[in-house]
Each structure stands twice: as C-alpha cells, then as structure tokens.
Symmetry: C2
Subunit: 308 residues, 2 copies
C-alpha cells in the first residue's frame, strides 16, 4: 500500500509533489509490469512492442492524478492502482496509434523510435488494440473493488476514450481540422476531447472509487477539465519554445504540419496569459472540496511550470 | 423480446434455423442502430465509417450464436442483446483493422470497398478503436444484467479479444507465420485464437448470462471450440473453391499471399474429411447439455454446409 500523505484533513502534508509523482510512477510501473504479458510469452514480438511502448519513460500523469484524487479522499492505493494502470494502457495505446504513418507519422517519441518504427506498422496497430482491450479487462477483474464500481469505472473510461464524447472523437476532429483553418472554439473542442476527456476521467475515477459526494465529484470534474486544458496549452507552447532535447521529439512539428495549436491561433504572449487564467480556473473549484487539496493544487502548479 | 423457440424442453422447435438466423440478424441490426452514434452526430466522418463497416451485410454469426445458446437455456433475448451487439462491434473492429494496408491489405469485403478505401486509413484505424471501446461501454451500461454478470462478461470477452489468449494474439501469430512455412499444430493455434476465441466467447457469454451450471458451461465451451474450427476450415475451403461473386472478395488471395490455410497444408480432400470429423466433435458435447440442443446442432450443420 502506498501511503504518502496523511489521511486526516488537518495534518500537514509531509511529502512534496516531486516525491509524490516519483513514488506514484514507481508504483504504477511495478503494477504495469505485473499486468502486461511478459516478453517471453508468445506472441513475443507483440508483447515486446507493448512493453516498448508502455515502458518508454512516460510521466504516468493520468495514473498519478487518479492516485492524487483518491489520496485526497483518503483511499488506499491498492483500491486505485488497477484503474490507474488501465488509464495508462489507454493513454499508451492512443500514442501508438497516433504515431502511425497514416495519423501523425511520428518516428520519435521521448527520444526513442516509435512503436511502428521499431516493430512494424501491423504490430504497432495490434499492440494498441491489445492495450485498449487489456485496460478494460484489468478493471473488470479488479477484485479490490465491488462489481458495481467496476462497471461504473469502465463506463466512465469508455465514454472518455471513445466517441462521440471522448478521445477518439477528438482525434477524428483533429484529422478533419488539419486540412483547413480552425476557429478558437473548435480548437477548444478538439483539445477537450483529445486530451481533456481522459484526464478528466482519471480524476473522476479517483473520486468515484472514493465514493465522493455528487458535489465533490462535480468540483473534481471542473478542476480536471481546466487541468486538461492547462496540459494541452503547455504542450502546444513547449512545441514552439522548447528544444528537441528537452521534449524528446522534433519541435515545431505541429506548426509545420499545420496542426491547430494555441500559439498558432493566438500567438505566444496571448497563450501565456490564457495559461495563467486557466491555472486559476483549475484551482477555484477545489475550494468546494472539504478535504486538504494542496496535493491537487500542487499538480496544477506543476503543469503550469513544466518544461517537458 | 424475441421469442422464437418454446421455453419448455420437450416442446418441438417451431422455427427452422434460417428463420432463427434471419430474426436474430434483424434484432441485432435494430439494436446496433440504436447503440451506434448517428451519422449526423459529429464527428460525422468517423461515425459514417463506423456504420459503413458495421452495416456491411455481415451474417451476425457471433451474436446469433450467443442468442441461440441463451435461447437454449430459456433466457429472454432482452438480457442477451447488448452483449450480442458488443461481440459484433468487436468482430467488426477486427475486420476493419485486418483489412488495413499494413495488415491484410484488402480493398474489398462483402463486395464493397473496405473502410480504409472508402474513408482513408486514419479514419479506419479510429473507427476500429471506437468500436472496440464501445463494445465494453455497451456491456458495462447494460442495465438488464446485474453488475457482477457484466464484469464477468467483459472479462470473458476481453480475454477472447486480446493477448495472450485471444484474437489479437492470433493476429500476431498470423503475421509472424506469413513469412515462413507453418506446421499443422501452429495453424491450429492461429485459428483457435484468431477466429475461435471470440466464437467460443459468444457461446460462453450466452451460457454465463443464463447461469448455466459449470458442467453445462464446459459442454458449451467444447461445442463452440469445435464450431470455431469448423468455421475456419470452411472459410479456408471457400477461399480455394468459391467464386468471387459468392464470397464477395477476391478468391485465392490467401494462397497468393502465402497465408497458412488448411487446404494449403493438407490438400482439399484431407481438409474435407477433417471438416466432417470436426462437425461430429462439435455435436458430441451437446449430449451433456440437458436442454433441447437441436438449435445448436442446426448451427453446426449450417456451418458445415455453408457456401459463403
């Protein structure tokens, strides 16, 4: 059991955010390692491709957010970890499929060859399919949670990952938008679905497992919605301002492929000011949560200031 | 509610198999139409691609098998239909991804352009991803079944569709096998995973929803395992013997691409004799089911004699 923060609301937090994130990442990686088929298990190439993609140095942001929300409501990590890993499987599958030649056509991710470059396109498609399937299996078989909660989590995540309300819909809008100019409202929709939906689901799943009240769940939903937006805006900004070394991929790629981004639409300065107001909007709903929310506020600060 | 067969074991069946299959297909199509996003809902191209692929004239064999097993155990179709539709979503996603240029590279399916030919490769990948996601959402949200049953069904189907025990693993083995000669035992494994696992899951889900006894579930599992094999052998034979018009795709394609098939490995005559013994092996376990199993036997006969 991960126990990094005290359960009593009025006790001071003892572990700073970087330590929380590092511990969350280790916990998630240990469990992912147990959940994914070993590379020695046949079909070995498929399982090697899955592990190559999952263990590629990701920050485990979605699992960490779920763990942080659960932690905020005093839930032990053993009740959270399977769902956290399922979210990372879905996030990874989406990266593998996004990187494919017919999609974003990326050769490099986090400084390493992408799945299809390393294992071939067919195996990359199958690796993504397998991860998506495994995510739902993982939650369905999580014996730490009652079945009623498991079906609610699966429903929540499937809606956030699918269409018309989720990530796949966002990807489809993004494809359509590449061919023509995009209005600000449309860009917001693309990001809300493509990145925001799964981030919101991560936070909501933590609250659902914790049996948060409807009012608390609504506050967490609002918080996470703004957090997702914050995440996307910083992502867009980093693509313009960072070096290849810092972000582990070719910078400026979004602009060259005429992808809809905030800096492209509003300019860098206006984007920075939007970033600040989004950060404030993320923290505001936390006032409605009667728990110590400093961990969740620290996550918003962390995204605002991130460099990769 | 579909009521095609009497519930009392000793009453004679009144509806012949072709009528059962036609009614099952209509029932499944009506519900799929309700479950899938409308084409007018944005992103419209994605939803058009999903519907193009799902409503492509498929026989709905997996849903029909689930309905037939449920019917055999006296379960009303309203408790079966959501899971039946979920299976068809997964089957359709697998066809869409299989047809992609980097996989089987098929331009034609059931006499129509495949999804990526009609809508582009990126949209086809997303349509498959969306269908897989929607399948699990559909079962998770099926309020006709208790949550305990829903998680069991999701686990069952995810195992049958994923890796290392399911369809995606079978696809991966098949990819590996294309490059070199394949032994008979290996071919059996490929088919058992690639086609058999989901067919077996369909039958098992019907029995699970019906709360069949462990002995009955085992008998249904054995029946369906042989049925899946029967299905694959007839598929391979049809590819060699049928005309393009009858099967709606280019015949002989498997042989040209050096895919592992029964006729390629054993010859046509030995394959026909294997077909007969597999049919007998499919019917034998039904003696252990204390229900009227003529519907399930009729399905085995139907596959043995199918022409497309």
């Amino acid at each position: 059991m991960m126990k990094m923060y005290s359960e009593t609301p009025d006790t001071a937090r003892v572990v700073p955010l970087p330590d929380f994130l590092a511990q969350a990442r280790t916990l998630v990686d240990v469990h992912l390692n147990l959940l994914l088929p070993a590379e020695l298990v046949s079909p070995t190439k498929l399982h090697a491709a899955i592990r190559w993609s999952v263990f590629a140095g990701g920050k485990r942001f979605r699992p960490a957010l779920l763990l942080a929300v659960g932690e905020t409501f005093g839930v032990a990590s053993e009740s959270l970890i399977a769902t956290a890993c399922a979210l990372e499987m879905i996030h990874t599958y989406s990266l593998v499929h996004d990187d494919l030649p017919s999609m974003d056509d990326d050769d490099l991710r986090r400084g390493r060859p992408t799945c299809h470059v390393r294992f071939g396109e067919a195996t990359a498609i199958l690796a993504g399919d397998a991860l998506l399937t495994m995510a739902f299996k993982t939650i369905a078989e999580d014996d730490k949670l009652p079945a009623t909660k498991r079906v609610r989590l699966i429903s929540e995540i499937a809606r956030a990952a699918g269409t018309p309300e989720g990530m796949v819909a966002g990807q489809a809008y993004d494809l359509e938008a590449e061919a023509r100019p995009v209005a600000a409202a449309e860009l917001e929709t693309i990001h809300r679905l493509k990145t925001g939906a799964l981030i919101t689901a991560a936070a909501r799943c933590g609250a659902i497992i914790a049996e948060a009240s409807p009012a608390e769940l609504a506050a967490i939903t609002d918080y996470a919605g703004q957090l997702g937006l914050l995440f996307q805006i910083t992502d867009d900004l980093l693509d313009v301002t960072a070096t290849a070394e810092a972000i582990g991929k070719t910078p400026g790629k979004d602009a060259r492929s005429r992808k809809a981004t905030y800096p492209a639409l509003h300019g860098i300065e206006a984007t920075r000011s939007y970033l600040a107001s989004t950060h404030a909007a993320a923290c505001e709903p936390l006032d409605r949560v009667e728990r110590p929310t400093d961990l969740l506020r620290a996550i918003a600060d962390f995204i605002l200031e991130r460099e990769a």
